[in-house]
C-alpha cells in the first residue's frame, strides 16, 4: 500500500467517524424532543386547566350543589359521592386483592389451577374499563338489583382495580427472601403465622403502593360509572353514614343515587354553554392534582422501599 492511499484511507475513516458522531448528536436531539413532547404535554394540559378554571377556585365551589346556573354550580355532591364510592372500592379491592395475592404466592402450588388464576389476572388488567361498566350494568344494577347506587359503583371500581392490587401484592411478597419464612417455620410457626406476622408485615409498603395507584385510578375512572347509568344532576347528599341513635351506623347511603368528580366534569364539559366549561376545567384541575399527589406519593414510596431494603 502506498503512502498516499493510506492517507486517503485515513481521511475517509476520519470522515466516517465524524459522520457517525454527527448521527449520535442528531439522534440525541431528536430523542430529547420526543421525550419533551411526552412530558411538556402534561405541563401544557395542567396550565391550560388552571388557566381556564381559575375563576372557580374557591371554597364555595366545593360547598355548592350543581345548578342550572354555571356560576352557582359546585362540586359538593360530586366530591362527597367520590369519597363514599372510593370507600367501598377500598373495602372490596384491598382485602380481596391482598388475600388473592397471598394465596397465589404463598399457598397455591404450581399447577393448572394457579395457572388459570394467573392468566385471568393478567387478562383482566387489559380489559377496557368500559367493559367493567357493562358487567356492572348487567350483574349489579339489574342482576342483583342493587340499582344505580354508591354500592354498585364502589363494587365496580373495586373489581376494576383488583388486578392492580393483586399484582403489586405478589411483587412485594416475591421480594421477601425464603430465609425469613424458613426462620419462622424453624421456631414452630404455622403457615398463617408466617404469612401474617412476617410476609404481610414486610411487604406492607409495596402493597400500599399498589393500593394507592389503584385508588387514584378508581378516582379518575369515568366510563364504567357512566355505563352503570349514574345520574349526573344530583342536588342532594346521600344519607349520613353516622346517625345519633344506636347502632350509630346507617347503611342507607349505600343504595343512594350519586355523582362523582369525573362524571360531574364530563357533564359540564359536554354542555354547550361556555360558562360550564370553566367549571369543567376547575374540576379537571382538582382531579389532576389529587391523582398526581396520590400517584406521586406511591411512586416515591416504591423508590424508597427499593433503596432502603437490604435483606
Amino acid at each position: 500500500m502506498t503512502q498516499a492511499s493510506v492517507i486517503k484511507n485515513l481521511t475517509e475513516v476520519r470522515a466516517m467517524i465524524k459522520r457517525h458522531k454527527m448521527d449520535d448528536y442528531i439522534f440525541s436531539i431528536i430523542g430529547i424532543i420526543a421525550l419533551m413532547i411526552g412530558l411538556l404535554t402534561l405541563l401544557t394540559l395542567f396550565i391550560d386547566l388552571i388557566y381556564d378554571g381559575s375563576g372557580r377556585f374557591n371554597l364555595k365551589f366545593l360547598s355548592d350543589y350543581p345548578s342550572r346556573r354555571a356560576e352557582n354550580a359546585g362540586l359538593l355532591s360530586a366530591w362527597v359521592g367520590s369519597t363514599l364510592v372510593m370507600l367501598i372500592t377500598f373495602l372490596t379491592a384491598v382485602p380481596m386483592g391482598v388475600a388473592a395475592g397471598l394465596y397465589l404466592e404463598e399457598y397455591a402450588s404450581k399447577n393448572w389451577f394457579s395457572d388459570i388464576i394467573e392468566i385471568n389476572v393478567s387478562n383482566l388488567a387489559g380489559v377496557p374499563s368500559i367493559v367493567y361498566g357493562l358487567l356492572a350494568l348487567g350483574l349489579f344494577v339489574y342482576g342483583l338489583g342493587l340499582g344505580q347506587s354508591i354500592l354498585t359503583a364502589g363494587l365496580t371500581l373495586g373489581l376494576l382495580i383488583l388486578p392492580i392490587v393483586i399484582v403489586s401484592t405478589r411483587e412485594s411478597i416475591r421480594a421477601i427472601p425464603v430465609a425469613i419464612r424458613e426462620a419462622a417455620y424453624a421456631v414452630g410457626a404455622t403457615k398463617w403465622q408466617v404469612v401474617y406476622d412476617h410476609v404481610l408485615k414486610y411487604s406492607y409498603g409495596g402493597i400500599l403502593t399498589g393500593v394507592i395507584i389503584g385508588m387514584a385510578r378508581a378516582l379518575g375512572e369515568t366510563a364504567p360509572i357512566i355505563t352503570i347509568g349514574a345520574l349526573t344532576f344530583i342536588a342532594f347528599l346521600p344519607p349520613s353514614p353516622i346517625s345519633d341513635v344506636p347502632p350509630y351506623l346507617n347503611f342507607e347511603w349505600l343504595s343512594s343515587g350519586f355523582t362523582v368528580l369525573p362524571i360531574q366534569m364530563f357533564n359540564w364539559l359536554s354542555r354547550p354553554d361556555h360558562a360550564f366549561h370553566v367549571n369543567a376545567a376547575a374540576t379537571g384541575a382538582i382531579i389532576i392534582v389529587v391523582t398526581l399527589l396520590m400517584n406521586g406519593y406511591a411512586i416515591r414510596l416504591r423508590y424508597k422501599i427499593r433503596e432502603s431494603i437490604k435483606w
Binding site: L35, M96, A99, V121, I130, L269
Partner: protein, 308 residues
C-alpha cells in the same frame, strides 16, 4: 393403639387440631379471594354473551357485520357495527401514528443516551403521566387541541377524530415509552460493551444491537398500546363526536364503539330493550378486539423473547 384412641386427647393435641382447622379455613378464604379474579372474567363473558344472544335473536349476525349503518335508536333501526369499528380503528390509528414513533424514540433516548440522573428523574414522571385520568384528556382534546387544529384546517368540524386521536396518542406515549424502555434496559450490558468495543457509536449500538435484542418487549409495548387505544372511552366520547359514520377520514366526526356505549348509557333506555342489548353486543366486539391484541402481545413476548 385402640386404648390410646379411647383416652381423651391431651389439651396440647386439641390445640393442634384447632390450629389445623384454623389454617385450613384461612387457606380456603384466601383461595376464594383468588377465585374472584376468575369469577370476574366468567361474569364479564357471561353477561356480554347473554345480552348479546338476546340482541342476535332480533338482528342477524350477517346484518351486524355487513350493514353500513348503525342507528339502533331510530324509527327504522339499522344494526351494522362497521361504522363503529371504522371510528374505533381510525382514532386508534391516528393515536398510534403519534405514539409509536415518539414513544420508541423517547425510549431509545432514555435507555441508551440519557444520563443516569435524567433517567431516574424522567421515569417516575412517565409513571405519573400514565395515571392522569382520561376524562381530563378529553377536555384537552376538545378545548385546546381542536381549536388549534381548526386554525390550521378551517374546514375541520368541532368534533373530529383527528383531535381525539392525537390526544389519545399523546396519552399513550408515556405508556409505550415506559414499557419499551424497560425492555431495552433488560438487554445485558455485555452486548453493548461488545458493540462499543468494535468501534460502534451509541446510535449504531442502539439501532443494531439493543433494539433488535429487545424486539419482543418493544412490539409487546406497541400491542398493549393498541389495546389501550381501542378500549379508550372518554377522549373519544368527548372529542370525536357521537354520530356513527362509516369513514376512515380522521377529519370527520364519528362515534367509536366505546363512545356509543357512553351515549346510550347517558340516555334512559329501558332494561331489556334492543337498544339496551345493543351496547352489550358492541361491548362484546370491543372485548374480542382487545382480547385479540392482548393475547397477541403475550404471544409475541413469549415467542420472540431472547434469553441471555
Amino acid at each position: 393403639m385402640n386404648e390410646f384412641a379411647a383416652t381423651t386427647i391431651s389439651p396440647r393435641l386439641a390445640k393442634n387440631i384447632r390450629r389445623n382447622i384454623k389454617e385450613r379455613v384461612i387457606e380456603l378464604i384466601l383461595m376464594l379471594a383468588a377465585l374472584s379474579a376468575v369469577a370476574t372474567t366468567v361474569g364479564i363473558v357471561a353477561i356480554l354473551l347473554n345480552e348479546s344472544l338476546g340482541f342476535f335473536k332480533t338482528v342477524s349476525v350477517v346484518d351486524f357485520f355487513t350493514d353500513t349503518q348503525w342507528t339502533p335508536l331510530f324509527e327504522n333501526p339499522h344494526f351494522g357495527i362497521m361504522p363503529l369499528i371504522s371510528g374505533t380503528l381510525t382514532t386508534s390509528a391516528v393515536a398510534l401514528i403519534v405514539a409509536i414513533p415518539v414513544g420508541t424514540i423517547a425510549a431509545i433516548y432514555l435507555s441508551e443516551f440519557a444520563s443516569h440522573k435524567v433517567r431516574e428523574t424522567v421515569k417516575p414522571i412517565l409513571e405519573l403521566l400514565v395515571g392522569v385520568p382520561t376524562v381530563v384528556f378529553g377536555y384537552f382534546a376538545l378545548f385546546f387541541v381542536t381549536p388549534i387544529l381548526q386554525n390550521m384546517i378551517p374546514t375541520l368540524p368541532g368534533f373530529n377524530m383527528l383531535s381525539a386521536g392525537l390526544v389519545m396518542g399523546i396519552m399513550i406515549i408515556p405508556y409505550i415509552c415506559s414499557v419499551a424502555e424497560d425492555a431495552m434496559r433488560a438487554v445485558p450490558m455485555s452486548m453493548r460493551e461488545g458493540s462499543y468495543a468494535m468501534g460502534a457509536t451509541r446510535f449504531q449500538t442502539a439501532l443494531r444491537v439493543v433494539a433488535p435484542a429487545a424486539t419482543s418487549g418493544i412490539v409487546a409495548a406497541y400491542i398493549l398500546g393498541i389495546s389501550r387505544a381501542v378500549g379508550e372511552t372518554m377522549v373519544v366520547a368527548v372529542a370525536a363526536g357521537q354520530q356513527p359514520n362509516l369513514t376512515f377520514n380522521p377529519m370527520e366526526s364519528a362515534a367509536t364503539i366505546t363512545a356509543y356505549i357512553v351515549q346510550v348509557a347517558l340516555g334512559d333506555l329501558p332494561h331489556g330493550s334492543i337498544g339496551y342489548q345493543s351496547i352489550f353486543a358492541a361491548g362484546l366486539v370491543l372485548m374480542v378486539m382487545t382480547l385479540m391484541f392482548n393475547m397477541l402481545g403475550h404471544w409475541v413476548r413469549k415467542k420472540y423473547r431472547e434469553n441471555y
